[in-house]
């Protein structure tokens, strides 16, 4: 199997190509599916899907799911599950609403306090799961009931709102445009272009580092084409958004978090240890990893992200309702599994979960535009979840 490129460049070059293309298709299979689904709805809705206004809405509608999916992915990779995130998001939204509306707190301390409440909830649940070894399914099922009930009690069955304008901007605000462009927000477009450059630069640096250590197997042309496509996609998307109101604030939050979690899971020791914990807890433990503490942290992290999602959702509706967060956990968990996470732990990618969330989001949005009723939407979403996991399992067994 050891291809010696120097000795037989002609014979091995084509196999290197097909091999790399195959592994790319495996890695980017979900992304390709997402693009195919988007293309499908783009055609079916006569171009409505990718209109700047709709694209912006798509991001706003799915932001809180994606934020929670980042935390859920870590929980699932660690070999657990969290059913309480929807209730926690609703409860934290309610807490923030009461603070701002009834006690007239400023929104900054409110946000901080709300995130702390989320951390505390995560810690409480994680404590039972990690140190007392009560299955996470049970602990978070209890949490789901408890916080749904507490949210109801706190709001006394009423909706509480509206919120200060600054708080609403978390969800409904856009990046200010320094060029005061009328039809095109240049700042947002510029940010997109710069990001595309940074991405390509980072990839080039990675590759240079890999070449230095002799670990490159992917042909250069493929690498170049792939990154060019990514860069173009980023620029086009930011162009589309710029021609409406620019980049939404929440997209910025989401993007930063995505990068952060991607980095943590792929490049840091703590990320690697979480994968080891989920893959084989006993082996991880015998390798000197503090497995209990790690699971505990994963739940604290989940709590904070659920709280953030609760704030984003409340800010978007401009009111906290007792029904907020209902059923979110299912979308979040589905996003992770569509994105290739394994229910038995140890396997899953942050970008997969994000793509999984977008697949669900695009389908919701596209089917609504097409006027498909909420009944059949659910049927179709359920089947897509099953199909995605089936394809994944099938590919692995092959």
């Amino acid at each position: 199997m050891e291809n010696n490129l120097g000795a037989a460049p002609i014979a091995t070059a084509p196999t290197a190509y097909t091999g790399s293309i195959k592994s790319n298709i495996r890695d980017y299979g979900m992304l390709i599916s997402l693009i195919a689904i988007m293309a499908f709805f783009q055609v079916m809705t006569d171009g409505t899907l990718m209109r700047p206004l709709n694209l912006t809405n798509l991001i706003l509608q799915n932001s809180y799911i994606i934020i929670m999916a980042l935390g859920m992915l870590l929980v699932i990779v660690a070999g657990h599950i969290d059913l309480s995130v929807g209730s926690v998001a609703g409860f934290v939204g309610a807490v923030a609403a009461v603070m701002m509306v009834q006690y007239e707190w400023h929104f900054v301390p409110t946000v901080i306090a709300a995130l702390l409440v989320g951390a505390l909830i995560g810690a409480a649940q994680g404590y039972f799961i990690a140190f007392f070894r009560i299955p996470s399914f049970i602990v978070t099922l209890a949490g789901m009931l408890v916080f749904k009930g507490l949210a109801l009690a706190l709001l006394q069955g009423q909706s509480v709102g509206p919120f200060p304008v600054e708080f609403q901007r978390i969800s409904s605000g856009f990046l200010p445009d320094v060029f005061s462009g009328e039809s095109l927000r240049l700042t947002s477009l510029l940010i997109g272009v710069v990001l595309a450059f940074l991405l390509v630069a980072a990839k080039l640096r990675d590759r240079a580092n890999q070449v230095k250590h002799g670990m490159v197997e992917e042909p250069y042309a493929l690498f170049a084409v792939k990154n060019l496509v990514f860069a173009v996609i980023i620029v086009v998307l930011s162009y589309l958004l710029s021609s409406y109101k620019g980049l939404p604030n929440v997209l910025v939050i989401m993007f930063v978090l995505m990068l952060l979690y991607h980095f943590v899971t792929t490049r840091t020791t703590i990320g690697r240890r979480i994968y080891a914990l989920g893959g084989n807890e006993k082996a991880a433990k015998l390798s000197g990893i503090k497995t209990e503490r790690l699971a505990f942290y994963a739940f604290i992290n989940m709590g904070v992200l659920a709280a953030l999602a609760g704030l984003v959702f409340a800010a978007r509706l401009n009111t906290a309702t007792p029904k907020a967060g209902l059923g979110f956990e299912l979308d979040v968990i589905a996003a992770c599994f569509i994105g290739g996470a394994s229910a038995s732990g140890g396997v899953g990618k942050v970008m997969g979960a994000v793509i999984g969330a977008f697949i669900m989001g695009v389908m919701n949005n596209g089917m609504s535009i097409l006027g498909i009723g909420i009944d059949y939407q659910q049927v179709i979403k359920g089947l897509v979840l099953l199909a995605a996991v089936f394809v994944d399992v099938y590919n692995k067994n092959k």
């Binding site: 893959g279 082996a283 140890g346 396997v347």
Partner: protein
């Protein structure tokens, strides 16, 4: 020809890109014990899957004749109906069901779907007597040791009127007395006319019971030997298995033993669930730099428990005793501290405790020493790759690349990954628990070479093994453990299988007299 119960002719089985079996012939006569041997990956399991119908007729080329007729098995149930029953290495018993329930699982003694428990119980008693077990049929499987579970599997096979029994590595996880009991049972079954195919790595057992031996190498039959016509030496079998002369089964080494390294004093450990049971009773041991210390003993003697409790209290409770390294007391209360203080423990259970199977070779090698390939908390991918490739070539891990998942490696290569992991944590004392379990002869030699190499580099090695020849071949000193105590100590020159067994027996006798 007439007396052959089974004949497999010209079996050829291919998987995409690989020829797993090519022109394999196997002829088992009625009422004989027929051993099938070969290195891991030689095609033994594939052959048995072809025979039992896991790979249905049509997915392979060649013919299977059983009891004089050509057979086309479409699934396991077809072959079971004719009395071909296979017992896999990983036992297929349900731990929380009773012996009776397990024996008749899928074959319930029932009328109109209602189970006749009285009859099941009676039949189970009868079967247990046949296999020489005195347990009550109501005992839960989880309360039995592995040896007895193996016998239950055989009882289950007997309940189905077995004609040809296939055993895949039945003694791999058994101690010597359980193994002997199992082999005796096979001889008894043979006397009743049941033929048996025995797949095993343990050549001494094969020479004890086998009437015929078929040797596979790289998916082909290399030799069929008839032990009744000629005496077959172990060396001859090994030569055919590996396809090369193996004059020495252990690497030569000139021990360079230095100063005292690790010392454990008065180590006592209680059982994690039943605190009144003392598993390790006041054991003291020491090992020097460059020394290989062997710990012999039967299964359940407390060797693994001793090692794991020293390694960061990974086993047991109410642990007392002291650990010294180079004369200074060290803290081994957590795994992290034990590793930091220069200990490493390579487990006897590679898949369960040693490896993250879904992960790449690379990630497994660096797992115990991630800071060694990271700047702060950020892993340096290039450095990690270089470290992994270095160990890959140093320990000769056979793999396509270090990005391969360890689940796809053979047992020997997996063990090399486990060793790589602990070498990268740079220990002074390496505790190796059954380092060659389930590994074929060729790979064993490589593992021995690595161990010898480490000792010559000045590491202290503690080697726990149930295979006495390997302890005798490798160790400078051997301690014998029985029922939680050290009951004997031998230098390499004094040690012999008999001496070790004698000290175990003597201590067992002394214990029973008290």
């Amino acid at each position: 020809m007439a007396d052959a119960i089974l004949e497999m002719r010209g079996i050829r089985k291919t998987f995409p890109g690989v020829v797993a079996l090519d022109n394999v012939n196997l002829r088992v006569r009625a009422g004989e014990i027929h051993a099938v041997v070969g290195e891991n990956g030689a095609g033994k399991s594939t052959l048995m899957k072809v025979l039992s119908g896991v790979y249905p007729h049509g997915s392979y080329a060649g013919e299977i004749h059983f009891q004089g007729q050509e057979r086309h098995f479409k699934g396991i149930s077809d072959s079971e109906k004719l009395g071909i029953i296979i017992i896999h290495q990983e036992l297929a018993l349900v731990p929380l069901l009773s012996i009776t329930e397990n024996i008749f699982l899928g074959n319930e003694q029932a009328r109109h779907g209602i189970i006749d428990w009285a009859q099941s119980y009676r039949k189970t008693q009868e079967l247990l007597r046949k296999v020489g077990l005195k347990e009550s049929p109501d005992t839960l499987i989880t309360n039995l040791g592995v040896g007895k579970q193996q016998l239950i599997e055989i009882a289950k096979a007997l309940s189905k009127e077995v004609k040809l029994l296939i055993l895949d590595e039945p003694t791999a996880s058994l101690n010597e007395s359980d193994s002997d009991a199992l082999l005796a049972l096979l001889l008894e079954l043979k006397a009743q006319g049941i033929a048996c195919i025995l797949i095993s790595h343990k050549l001494n057992e094969i020479s004890k019971v086998a009437d015929a031996i078929t040797i596979l190498r790289d998916g082909a039959t290399v030799e069929s030997l008839d032990c009744r016509k000629e005496a077959v030496s172990e060396d001859r079998i090994i030569r055919h298995m590996v396809g090369r002369e193996m004059t020495d089964r252990y690497p030569k080494r000139t021990p360079a033993i230095g100063e005292l390294a690790l010392e454990v004093k008065d180590w006592t450990v209680h059982h994690p669930i039943h605190p009144e049971r003392v598993v390790v009773k006041g054991v003291s041991l020491h090992v020097r730099k460059g020394e290989i210390l062997g710990i012999a003993g039967l299964m359940g003697a407390g060797r693994t428990e001793l090692a794991m409790s020293v390694f960061g209290r990974s086993y047991g409770q109410r642990i007392s005793g002291k650990v010294f390294l180079h004369g200074k007391e060290i803290d081994v209360s957590t795994v992290q501290k034990a590793i930091r203080n220069g200990l490493a423990y390579a487990t006897e259970d590679r898949k369960g405790y040693g490896l993250v199977l879904d992960q790449e070779i690379k990630g497994n090698i660096t797992l115990a020493n991630l800071p060694g390939v990271a700047h702060g908390i950020v892993i340096d991918n290039g450095l990690e790759y270089r470290v992994a490739t270095e160990y890959r070539s140093k320990l000769k891990v056979r793999c396509a690349s270090v990005f391969q998942q360890v689940v796809n490696l053979s047992g020997g290569n997996q063990q090399k990954v486990v060793l790589s992991k602990w070498l990268f944590s740079n220990p002074e004392v390496l505790i190796l628990d059954e380092p060659t379990r389930g590994i074929d002869v060729g790979a064993k030699y490589e593992i021995y070479t690595i161990i010898a190499q480490l000792a010559s580099e000045g590491k202290s090695i503690i080697m726990i093994s149930s295979e006495m020849p390997e302890l005798l071949g490798m160790c400078d000193r051997i301690c014998v453990m029985n029922e939680g105590r050290f009951v004997g100590e031998f230098t390499a020159a004094e040690a012999s299988q008999e001496a070790i067994m004698r000290s175990i027996m003597k201590s067992a006798k002394a214990a029973s007299e008290n």
